[in-house]
Amino acid sequence: MRKYWEYYKIAVRNQTAYKVDIVVNIASNMVFFYVFFALWVRIFSQNGISEINTYSLSMTVTYYLITTVIFRLVPWDAIYLNQDVWSGYFTNDLIKPWNARVVQFLATMGETLTSFVYGIPVLVVVFLTVGKYLVLPDALHAISFVITLLIGFFLIMSFVLIFHSFVFYFGDQDPNIGIVTYLLMFLSGGVFPLGFLPEKTRVIFESLPFKYIFDVPTNMFLNKFDSTEIALIWLKMILWTLVFLWNLFGRIQKRT
């Protein structure tokens, strides 16, 4: 266990070595939120709109803020299985006295959690500058939001790893992974709330499991679900995660 703990600490330390890089990263990520904030404030105020498909201006701004936070928690940028296998570095993990899958997971978790911590100053700045536009959850939804994020982390990681595991069969998957993650961002409500879509399109998007990455946790934060719906959401998320993990481990087990 100690070796895994040390590995995790190194993964975290690796992310914190260059302070200026961290600050620039934080600042550039704030731009994403403020551009959409300006856009939606203009849309709502210029045209006298009070809500778009049940989303008020406050809910829309909060939606973009929460997706900015979730972007720091989704592990798709912190998974290096494809690069490690393609470069041969993965062999080092196989011959060392530890489980290669565990260290891959620890590296991803370390980088993701560190990335989230760097997002806290963004939250503070946003709260201080546009706090009056934000919607805050009640206690039930706040706790449910955190649990949903945790389950969502494993769901998205298990799904993206499937594409990374294709490297064992087809070689470098970097361009494909880029396309898949961008598509996921769109299908999951990372660009705009799925609730903004027309009815027929929304039904298709909401039947896919990707809404659990951005749209569902964010709507959880916006107090949009009752306790029964929350329990059902968690059950579905766990089932989907198991389906992805079963597919993934079957694939990796054969190749390693």
Binding site: D21, S28, V31, D174, G178
Partner: protein, 256 residues
């Protein structure tokens, strides 16, 4: 320059799958953006005085500028923050009897990225036709003239953003700053509050890159726009060059 372009073609054409991935990514990005614009304009008639098709053209033009940048200088400029300064490879460029800033910037063109322009040009053409946007030939000439300045401003801003790499050991996040700020080029300047708009027209004139040329195309040239574009390009060029020179003076080679 011809040799650089030829080498770029040979290098990039080897990996056919990579370029197909880039095209697929661009098609996906355009699709997502079109859906997003459709959602916005299903609720409003105009945004900051611009109609759907006018904004679509603005988006297309901003993408053309970004694609030209990607073709000509993006990789070269990024290499400054990624490895040239940190590893000391900048020495080899400093030794040459050519302007270092331009030499490095244009040392790694990506010729195949220019093909992405096809999609943006198609979107722009569609926007003009479908929107029944009547344009005078005089406006087209002024648009092309100011578009040239727009591309030059984009180049100087890209270099300016990367110059802190001379003073900071590792600054990989800085290459994403222009990506983030490039979002501002896709929307009319009117969505931003007055003070912020002023900053992005003066201190960091990213809005000038696409907004002014497209505005001139639709509503005709004004003397103040033309003078502004020439003056801001000159000032930005002088400032960028001065900061670059400062960076070179502070550069201490890491190689033998």
């Amino acid at each position: 320059m011809w040799v650089l372009i030829k080498n770029s073609w040979i290098r990039d054409a080897k990996i056919g799958g990579y370029q197909i991935g880039v095209f697929a990514y661009r098609v996906l990005e355009i699709t997502v953006t079109l859906v997003f614009f459709q959602i916005i304009f299903s609720n409003i008639e105009s945004l900051a005085g611009w109609t759907y098709y006018e904004i679509l053209f603005l988006y297309a033009f901003s993408k053309i500028v970004i694609d030209l940048g990607s073709t000509l200088f993006k990789v070269g400029v990024r290499s400054i923050s990624e490895n040239l300064v940190r590893t000391g490879e900048l020495d080899f460029f400093l030794l040459r009897p050519v302007n270092t800033m331009f030499l490095i910037s244009f040392s790694k063109p990506r010729v195949l990225d220019s093909i992405n322009c096809i999609f943006s040009v198609a979107i722009g053409y569609y926007a003009l036709i479908a929107g029944n946007i009547a344009i005078k030939s005089e406006n087209i000439i002024w648009f092309l003239f100011l578009a040239l300045f727009g591309v030059v401003i984009y180049y100087f801003l890209s270099v300016l953003v990367i110059t802190p790499a001379f003073w900071v050991v590792k600054l990989w996040s800085i290459k994403y700053v222009m990506n983030r700020l490039g979002q501002l080029m896709q929307y009319p300047a009117g969505i931003l509050p007055g003070a912020i708009r002023m900053i992005f027209f003066t201190a960091f004139p990213i809005l000038a890159v696409s907004y002014i040329p497209v505005r001139v195309l639709f509503w005709g040239p004004k003397l103040e726009y033309v003078v502004y574009m020439i003056v801001i390009t000159l000032i930005l060029g002088i400032v960028t060059r001065a900061i670059w020179k400062l960076g070179e003076r502070s550069y201490a080679s890491a190689s033998s």
